[in-house]
Subunit: 144 residues, 2 copies
Protein backbone atom coordinates (compact mmCIF):
# COMPACT_ATOMS: atom_id res chain seq x y z
CA UNK A 1 0.00 0.00 0.00
CA UNK A 2 2.72 2.44 1.02
CA UNK A 3 4.81 1.33 -1.95
CA UNK A 4 1.79 1.67 -4.23
CA UNK A 5 1.35 5.27 -3.13
CA UNK A 6 5.03 5.96 -3.65
CA UNK A 7 4.98 4.73 -7.24
CA UNK A 8 1.64 6.41 -7.91
CA UNK A 9 3.30 9.69 -6.96
CA UNK A 10 5.89 8.97 -9.64
CA UNK A 11 3.06 8.44 -12.13
CA UNK A 12 1.51 11.73 -10.95
CA UNK A 13 4.80 13.47 -11.70
CA UNK A 14 4.50 12.18 -15.26
CA UNK A 15 0.91 13.43 -15.40
CA UNK A 16 2.19 16.84 -14.31
CA UNK A 17 4.69 16.80 -17.21
CA UNK A 18 1.80 16.08 -19.59
CA UNK A 19 -0.15 19.02 -18.14
CA UNK A 20 2.82 21.35 -18.63
CA UNK A 21 2.90 20.30 -22.30
CA UNK A 22 -0.84 20.94 -22.75
CA UNK A 23 -1.68 17.25 -22.93
CA UNK A 24 -4.48 15.41 -21.12
CA UNK A 25 -2.66 14.94 -17.78
CA UNK A 26 -2.26 11.19 -17.42
CA UNK A 27 0.98 9.54 -16.37
CA UNK A 28 2.33 6.02 -15.90
CA UNK A 29 5.37 4.24 -14.53
CA UNK A 30 6.20 0.55 -14.75
CA UNK A 31 8.05 -1.23 -11.97
CA UNK A 32 9.78 -4.57 -11.79
CA UNK A 33 10.86 -6.00 -8.44
CA UNK A 34 10.46 -2.67 -6.66
CA UNK A 35 12.31 -0.59 -9.23
CA UNK A 36 10.96 1.81 -11.88
CA UNK A 37 11.94 0.47 -15.32
CA UNK A 38 10.00 2.88 -17.53
CA UNK A 39 7.89 6.02 -17.54
CA UNK A 40 5.44 7.67 -19.86
CA UNK A 41 2.91 10.43 -20.14
CA UNK A 42 0.25 11.24 -22.64
CA UNK A 43 1.77 12.72 -25.84
CA UNK A 44 -1.11 12.52 -28.32
CA UNK A 45 -0.90 16.22 -29.20
CA UNK A 46 2.85 16.59 -29.37
CA UNK A 47 3.24 13.48 -31.53
CA UNK A 48 -0.07 13.97 -33.40
CA UNK A 49 -0.63 10.32 -32.58
CA UNK A 50 -3.94 9.22 -31.08
CA UNK A 51 -2.28 6.05 -29.75
CA UNK A 52 0.45 7.85 -27.77
CA UNK A 53 -1.14 7.25 -24.37
CA UNK A 54 0.99 7.22 -21.20
CA UNK A 55 0.65 3.45 -20.84
CA UNK A 56 1.54 2.62 -24.47
CA UNK A 57 4.71 4.69 -24.22
CA UNK A 58 5.66 3.16 -20.86
CA UNK A 59 4.86 -0.38 -22.07
CA UNK A 60 7.04 -0.15 -25.17
CA UNK A 61 9.86 1.34 -23.09
CA UNK A 62 9.49 -1.40 -20.46
CA UNK A 63 9.66 -4.18 -23.05
CA UNK A 64 12.73 -2.48 -24.51
CA UNK A 65 14.32 -2.27 -21.03
CA UNK A 66 13.50 -5.92 -20.28
CA UNK A 67 14.54 -7.14 -23.72
CA UNK A 68 11.40 -9.27 -23.92
CA UNK A 69 7.79 -8.86 -24.89
CA UNK A 70 6.25 -10.12 -21.64
CA UNK A 71 5.94 -8.13 -18.44
CA UNK A 72 4.70 -10.86 -16.11
CA UNK A 73 6.78 -9.64 -13.16
CA UNK A 74 5.93 -5.99 -13.70
CA UNK A 75 3.38 -3.59 -12.26
CA UNK A 76 1.90 -0.75 -14.31
CA UNK A 77 1.02 2.32 -12.23
CA UNK A 78 -1.25 4.71 -14.07
CA UNK A 79 -3.10 7.74 -12.74
CA UNK A 80 -6.38 7.02 -14.56
CA UNK A 81 -8.12 3.74 -15.43
CA UNK A 82 -6.70 2.50 -18.75
CA UNK A 83 -8.75 2.73 -21.95
CA UNK A 84 -9.54 -0.44 -23.93
CA UNK A 85 -6.50 0.02 -26.20
CA UNK A 86 -4.09 0.21 -23.27
CA UNK A 87 -5.81 -2.60 -21.36
CA UNK A 88 -5.62 -4.89 -24.40
CA UNK A 89 -1.96 -3.91 -24.87
CA UNK A 90 -1.29 -4.94 -21.26
CA UNK A 91 -3.08 -8.22 -22.00
CA UNK A 92 -0.68 -8.93 -24.90
CA UNK A 93 2.25 -8.12 -22.61
CA UNK A 94 0.77 -10.30 -19.83
CA UNK A 95 1.34 -7.56 -17.27
CA UNK A 96 1.42 -9.04 -13.76
CA UNK A 97 -0.39 -6.22 -11.98
CA UNK A 98 -2.12 -2.94 -12.75
CA UNK A 99 -2.58 -0.19 -10.17
CA UNK A 100 -4.65 2.81 -11.15
CA UNK A 101 -5.74 5.95 -9.37
CA UNK A 102 -9.05 7.27 -10.67
CA UNK A 103 -11.74 5.14 -12.35
CA UNK A 104 -12.87 6.36 -15.80
CA UNK A 105 -16.58 5.63 -15.96
CA UNK A 106 -16.85 6.93 -19.55
CA UNK A 107 -13.90 5.39 -21.38
CA UNK A 108 -12.39 2.86 -18.97
CA UNK A 109 -11.60 -0.70 -20.02
CA UNK A 110 -13.83 -2.13 -17.29
CA UNK A 111 -16.94 -1.13 -19.27
CA UNK A 112 -16.30 -3.93 -21.74
CA UNK A 113 -17.26 -7.56 -21.66
CA UNK A 114 -15.64 -10.07 -21.63
CA UNK A 115 -12.65 -8.63 -19.76
CA UNK A 116 -9.96 -7.05 -21.92
CA UNK A 117 -7.27 -7.95 -19.40
CA UNK A 118 -5.17 -11.10 -19.19
CA UNK A 119 -6.79 -13.55 -16.75
CA UNK A 120 -3.65 -13.57 -14.56
CA UNK A 121 -3.38 -9.78 -14.22
CA UNK A 122 -4.18 -8.46 -10.74
CA UNK A 123 -5.85 -5.07 -10.43
CA UNK A 124 -5.76 -2.52 -7.61
CA UNK A 125 -7.69 0.71 -8.00
CA UNK A 126 -8.38 4.03 -6.23
CA UNK A 127 -4.80 4.63 -5.05
CA UNK A 128 -4.52 8.41 -4.49
CA UNK A 129 -7.79 8.65 -6.39
CA UNK A 130 -8.51 12.29 -5.66
CA UNK A 131 -4.98 13.47 -6.56
CA UNK A 132 -5.13 11.45 -9.78
CA UNK A 133 -8.55 12.64 -10.97
CA UNK A 134 -8.11 16.34 -10.12
CA UNK A 135 -5.65 17.27 -12.91
CA UNK A 136 -7.89 15.67 -15.56
CA UNK A 137 -11.04 17.37 -14.24
CA UNK A 138 -9.22 20.71 -14.20
CA UNK A 139 -7.83 20.19 -17.68
CA UNK A 140 -11.26 19.66 -19.22
CA UNK A 141 -12.78 22.51 -17.18
CA UNK A 142 -10.20 24.91 -18.64
CA UNK A 143 -10.80 23.58 -22.17
CA UNK A 144 -14.47 24.56 -22.05
CA UNK B 1 -14.88 -4.13 -54.37
CA UNK B 2 -12.20 -4.30 -57.05
CA UNK B 3 -10.30 -1.52 -55.28
CA UNK B 4 -10.72 -3.29 -51.94
CA UNK B 5 -9.14 -6.43 -53.40
CA UNK B 6 -6.31 -4.41 -54.88
CA UNK B 7 -5.42 -2.81 -51.54
CA UNK B 8 -5.92 -6.09 -49.68
CA UNK B 9 -3.27 -7.58 -51.97
CA UNK B 10 -0.95 -4.81 -50.78
CA UNK B 11 -1.73 -5.78 -47.18
CA UNK B 12 -1.04 -9.43 -48.10
CA UNK B 13 2.36 -8.38 -49.41
CA UNK B 14 3.08 -6.93 -45.95
CA UNK B 15 1.89 -10.18 -44.36
CA UNK B 16 4.34 -12.03 -46.59
CA UNK B 17 7.16 -9.78 -45.32
CA UNK B 18 6.16 -10.67 -41.76
CA UNK B 19 6.26 -14.40 -42.64
CA UNK B 20 9.74 -14.02 -44.13
CA UNK B 21 10.87 -12.48 -40.84
CA UNK B 22 9.36 -15.31 -38.76
CA UNK B 23 6.52 -13.13 -37.47
CA UNK B 24 2.83 -14.01 -37.29
CA UNK B 25 1.96 -13.13 -40.92
CA UNK B 26 -0.46 -10.22 -40.66
CA UNK B 27 -0.16 -7.09 -42.79
CA UNK B 28 -1.91 -3.75 -43.14
CA UNK B 29 -2.00 -0.74 -45.42
CA UNK B 30 -3.83 2.54 -44.88
CA UNK B 31 -5.26 4.49 -47.79
CA UNK B 32 -6.54 8.01 -48.11
CA UNK B 33 -8.47 9.09 -51.22
CA UNK B 34 -7.38 6.03 -53.18
CA UNK B 35 -3.70 6.26 -52.31
CA UNK B 36 -1.63 4.17 -49.88
CA UNK B 37 -0.27 6.48 -47.16
CA UNK B 38 1.25 3.88 -44.81
CA UNK B 39 2.09 0.22 -44.42
CA UNK B 40 2.87 -2.12 -41.57
CA UNK B 41 3.34 -5.74 -40.69
CA UNK B 42 3.55 -7.57 -37.43
CA UNK B 43 6.96 -7.00 -35.75
CA UNK B 44 6.35 -8.25 -32.20
CA UNK B 45 9.33 -10.63 -32.28
CA UNK B 46 11.82 -8.39 -34.04
CA UNK B 47 11.05 -5.45 -31.75
CA UNK B 48 10.35 -7.60 -28.65
CA UNK B 49 7.23 -5.48 -28.35
CA UNK B 50 3.87 -7.17 -27.81
CA UNK B 51 2.12 -4.03 -29.11
CA UNK B 52 3.93 -3.94 -32.48
CA UNK B 53 0.97 -5.22 -34.48
CA UNK B 54 0.65 -4.45 -38.20
CA UNK B 55 -2.20 -2.01 -37.60
CA UNK B 56 -0.48 -0.09 -34.77
CA UNK B 57 2.60 0.45 -36.92
CA UNK B 58 0.51 1.51 -39.94
CA UNK B 59 -1.69 3.79 -37.80
CA UNK B 60 1.23 5.68 -36.25
CA UNK B 61 2.85 6.03 -39.70
CA UNK B 62 -0.45 7.25 -41.22
CA UNK B 63 -0.92 9.91 -38.52
CA UNK B 64 2.68 10.98 -39.10
CA UNK B 65 2.05 11.16 -42.88
CA UNK B 66 -1.17 13.15 -42.39
CA UNK B 67 0.28 15.40 -39.71
CA UNK B 68 -2.83 14.92 -37.60
CA UNK B 69 -4.19 12.44 -35.12
CA UNK B 70 -7.48 11.69 -36.90
CA UNK B 71 -7.90 9.41 -39.89
CA UNK B 72 -11.54 10.10 -40.72
CA UNK B 73 -10.95 9.99 -44.48
CA UNK B 74 -8.78 6.90 -44.33
CA UNK B 75 -9.37 3.19 -44.81
CA UNK B 76 -7.38 0.56 -42.92
CA UNK B 77 -6.88 -2.66 -44.89
CA UNK B 78 -5.72 -5.53 -42.71
CA UNK B 79 -5.46 -9.21 -43.56
CA UNK B 80 -6.97 -10.48 -40.28
CA UNK B 81 -9.70 -9.06 -38.04
CA UNK B 82 -8.09 -6.57 -35.64
CA UNK B 83 -7.58 -7.44 -31.97
CA UNK B 84 -9.17 -5.24 -29.26
CA UNK B 85 -6.00 -3.12 -28.89
CA UNK B 86 -5.90 -2.27 -32.59
CA UNK B 87 -9.67 -1.75 -32.82
CA UNK B 88 -9.58 0.65 -29.87
CA UNK B 89 -6.60 2.45 -31.43
CA UNK B 90 -8.64 2.91 -34.62
CA UNK B 91 -11.46 4.25 -32.46
CA UNK B 92 -9.15 6.93 -31.01
CA UNK B 93 -8.02 7.82 -34.55
CA UNK B 94 -11.65 7.88 -35.75
CA UNK B 95 -10.74 5.74 -38.77
CA UNK B 96 -13.36 6.15 -41.50
CA UNK B 97 -13.42 2.56 -42.72
CA UNK B 98 -11.89 -0.79 -41.87
CA UNK B 99 -11.60 -3.62 -44.40
CA UNK B 100 -10.36 -6.96 -43.17
CA UNK B 101 -9.79 -10.32 -44.78
CA UNK B 102 -10.22 -13.19 -42.36
CA UNK B 103 -12.35 -13.08 -39.20
CA UNK B 104 -10.54 -14.02 -35.97
CA UNK B 105 -13.10 -15.90 -33.89
CA UNK B 106 -10.67 -16.30 -30.95
CA UNK B 107 -9.09 -12.88 -30.52
CA UNK B 108 -11.05 -10.54 -32.77
CA UNK B 109 -12.42 -7.21 -31.55
CA UNK B 110 -15.97 -8.18 -32.52
CA UNK B 111 -16.15 -10.56 -29.54
CA UNK B 112 -16.43 -7.60 -27.17
CA UNK B 113 -19.41 -5.60 -26.05
CA UNK B 114 -20.13 -2.71 -26.35
CA UNK B 115 -18.37 -2.18 -29.68
CA UNK B 116 -14.72 -1.13 -29.45
CA UNK B 117 -14.96 0.80 -32.72
CA UNK B 118 -15.92 4.41 -33.29
CA UNK B 119 -19.65 4.64 -34.09
CA UNK B 120 -18.89 6.28 -37.46
CA UNK B 121 -16.40 3.64 -38.65
CA UNK B 122 -17.68 1.45 -41.50
CA UNK B 123 -16.56 -2.17 -41.63
CA UNK B 124 -16.21 -4.54 -44.58
CA UNK B 125 -15.01 -8.07 -43.97
CA UNK B 126 -14.10 -11.28 -45.81
CA UNK B 127 -12.19 -9.61 -48.66
CA UNK B 128 -9.82 -12.28 -50.05
CA UNK B 129 -10.65 -14.22 -46.89
CA UNK B 130 -9.03 -17.50 -47.91
CA UNK B 131 -5.77 -15.85 -49.06
CA UNK B 132 -5.63 -13.83 -45.84
CA UNK B 133 -6.24 -16.70 -43.42
CA UNK B 134 -3.97 -19.27 -45.11
CA UNK B 135 -0.59 -17.75 -44.10
CA UNK B 136 -1.66 -17.55 -40.43
CA UNK B 137 -2.99 -21.12 -40.39
CA UNK B 138 0.22 -22.37 -41.98
CA UNK B 139 2.36 -20.36 -39.58
CA UNK B 140 0.78 -21.93 -36.51
CA UNK B 141 0.79 -25.41 -38.09
CA UNK B 142 4.56 -25.16 -38.58
CA UNK B 143 5.05 -23.88 -35.02
CA UNK B 144 3.52 -27.05 -33.54
Amino acid sequence: MEQDERFMREALREAQDAATEGEVPIGAVITCRGRVISRGHNMTERLSDATAHAEMIALTAAMEAQGGKYLKDCTVYVTVEPCPMCAAAMNWAQVGRIVYGAPDPKRGYSLFYPSLLHPKTEVTQRILEEECSRPVTEFFKEKR
